[in-house]
Symmetry: C2
């Protein structure tokens, strides 16, 4: 099962995109990502939360209903802000974040999360694997820094491509810095 | 079994301590650490490797035979240097590092490592647990970000206090930022 690492990035709503980059602005694709509709954009923004600030945080397209910023616990260290561990899309109770782009600034009372590790799985494949959305699995990554990640949440959708999504802290703890293969443990 | 997280730090030889802080210099204890003879020092140094530089890297005393700098994979990211995963003390083939203190500068051709996770265990306790130096165990950390760390190397010594030693990447991947309790898996 492929395992992929997400570095800090953000998803933007059309409204926030226009505030940050200008009226009528459209995202420019830099490269495709593993999930069919997702793409890394040429655009980056600055983010600020508590006493931490990061420049050049990659925007991931397409635009979404709600703006979301995903960072690692390492990124959050020393900020003085408690950033909750959340599934992507679940922004209730997530942390405040300020974003700055070339055309303006957006202050969000919610939007900043540490992403919970999860498995993307297409509907057909999920049937074969006897998995459904919300199931909890474990994923083993072998090697000198071998790790079993527990509490990996399954998300099933028609067009998802099979992939375990972890962040840079999780990748580093397993000694991997790019795509690898993990073993599914039920 | 207690699990403890080490942030980036260094151990100094008397020779390098004097180069960095001046002739005849002695370390000043800031606080005791979990291992009986170890202590965090008031002294910090700057370290440089490849294109990365960190100020205020904590010195851990007492002085050792050989100077050793321990960082995380996150710290090493973007440096352009491959920093090997090594057991503390095993510096053969470790990476170059430059250290700067108030009195001078030390350039080491070897000394920079990512520390392999390991278990410290006293001789008596090791007998009870049927463990010996060099054994490989797994340690499970429960919680929302539950993880099993495999390939944890056992180190037995008379005065060691039972403790699993992991770095900040590993701590973050398990969602912990201070001491916790792990479960030993044989």
């Amino acid at each position: 099962m492929p395992v992929e690492i997400s570095a800090r990035h953000c998803h933007l709503s059309q409204r926030d995109l226009e505030k940050l980059f200008g009226a009528g602005y459209e995202l420019t694709k830099l490269r495709d990502l593993s999930q069919p509709s997702d793409f890394a954009c040429e655009e980056t923004v600055a983010i600020e939360f508590g006493s931490n600030k990061f420049e050049k945080v990659r925007v991931v397209g397409p635009v979404r209903e709600q703006t979301q910023v995903e960072i690692s616990l390492t990124d959050g260290a020393g900020s003085g802000v408690e950033i909750p561990l959340k599934l992507s899309g679940d922004l209730k109770g997530s942390a405040r974040v300020i974003m700055t782009g070339p055309a303006g600034r957006v202050e969000l009372s919610e939007g900043l999360i540490i992403a919970k590790r999860h498995l993307h799985c297409a509907t057909e494949e999920a049937k074969k694997l006897k998995l459904k959305t919300g199931d909890i699995i474990s994923v083993k990554i072998s090697g000198e820094r071998g790790v079993v990640f527990e509490n990996v949440i399954v998300r099933v959708k028609n067009d998802y491509k099979l992939s375990v999504q972890i962040d840079t802290d999780e990748g580093n703890s397993a000694g991997i810095n790019q795509k690898t293969i993990g073993e599914l443990i039920f």
